[in-house]
Symmetry: C2
Amino acid sequence: MGLRKIAKKTLSDEVYDQLSGEIVEGHFGAGVNLPAERQLCETLGVNRGAIREALKRLAQAGLVSISQGGGTKVLDFRRNAGLDLLGRMLFRRDNTINLGVARSVMEMRAVLAPDIARLCAERATEADITALRELIESMHAAAEVDDLAELQDLSLRFWDVMVRGSGNIAYELSFNTLRETYDRLREVLVQVMAEETRDVAGHRAIAEAVERGDGGAAKHMADALMEKGTRAVLGLVGALQDATLTPDEADDSAAKGSDR
Amino acid sequence: MGLRKIAKKTLSDEVYDQLSGEIVEGHFGAGVNLPAERQLCETLGVNRGAIREALKRLAQAGLVSISQGGGTKVLDFRRNAGLDLLGRMLFRRDNTINLGVARSVMEMRAVLAPDIARLCAERATEADITALRELIESMHAAAEVDDLAELQDLSLRFWDVMVRGSGNIAYELSFNTLRETYDRLREVLVQVMAEETRDVAGHRAIAEAVERGDGGAAKHMADALMEKGTRAVLGLVGALQDATLTPDEADDSAAKGSDR
DNA sequence: GTTCGTAAATTGGTATGACCAGTTGACCAT
DNA sequence: ATGGTCAACTGGTCATACCAATTTACGAAC
């Protein structure tokens, strides 16, 4: 327990991290050209292959646009990047948390989950329903001994089944990204979201609505469940933001209108 | 008019397209190893750099996992890929449309838009409101001469402003991906969604609610607007799917339970 | 039989240098 | 003002070599 996987980074990963960080934090404004590949080689002290692998990834992420002969141009990531950038934005390079990103994830989760529940109720297979039943039982067991970490894990798996049962590939893929982002805050959130995590009855109500094929009820129950965690986290984020407004860097409230 | 930008593809783009296609269409099952880089070079007839650039992109998209010495393993994209994969999945390599993906996009849009409207109403700046006003006027002008293509473009820009005004980065990024996917079907959908596109009053009602800062009303109005296009497209998709069920390939209804 | 260590084969990671191909911009002829 | 030409710059492709981590097979030790 407590052991963590050792993170290994290749050179191109490091290049990608540095460049994407510079772009997201605005040190390379939209429209300007990145330094030429051969110059980046020299500046960063790596070979051109590593640079190119990183640049291709930046292009795929929607952060830059590469054109032969014309250089590599920085794009406006707010207008061009995909949802995958969330993970990159959650932590700044000084390891502070971007509260605006955390809030956004919670808001999105709160809206998607009820519709996932609705669709799952309308489309779930027998296998899905069985899986939900088993998860609810496990949650009961974990709740008996108040094992919060286990409950959190089971809740994630609960929604895993739900989103697959919804038959909506856009929700599945969004969920993957949101889960990845959420996972990075897991240790922090396990306490904050305890009320939602411990609500086995809430999870059970959704599962039973799914079992009955009652989309409306499933949606309503999911809404109620989400409300608990969402309220707790948004409250915390709000408080932290207010506390952060003291320094000159007005962080998030300012960032909203700053770069458009 | 009618001229289109010439699409240029690099070798690594082509490699990426081929490999991601194979994976998404299931020819490489999750868990198996991709051929070694040096072997892919020979098979595809390109140098190793091009292969590596493509593999790095596949890894970033969540389709494979690369480990030095251990080969490149195919992942379960439904469980690991990000939302960006939507665009890759919309068209199969035989150029047929994946109706399940189209349906998913419409469902997600219908759920996100009302919450975007709600948040925008609560957080919009004066500049946002001005931009919305101008767009509504332009829409009126376009509606006078029933210029559907122009109306569609203005509606997209309307939502562009809304999503930026919502102050939710997750919505912004999701919207970028959804717009990209939607754009590929634009010519088809312009007719199908005409009722929603022509509904200038519906757009105006949302803009006015935003102006008043009335989140509840904005949400409700957006819901009503979305309902028009969503109903039309989902109806069409349903009809097409029923028609497709005649051949043995039961396409989407079957795909749902096939690979889990 | 299991466990552990070792060495060879395999696979990805990095480096170098060369040349091809498209873009840009300065310059010039018309 | 227009269009052509050429040089410089930038990304795209290629070949080859070697480094580093993992896997596998084999055998020694328990």
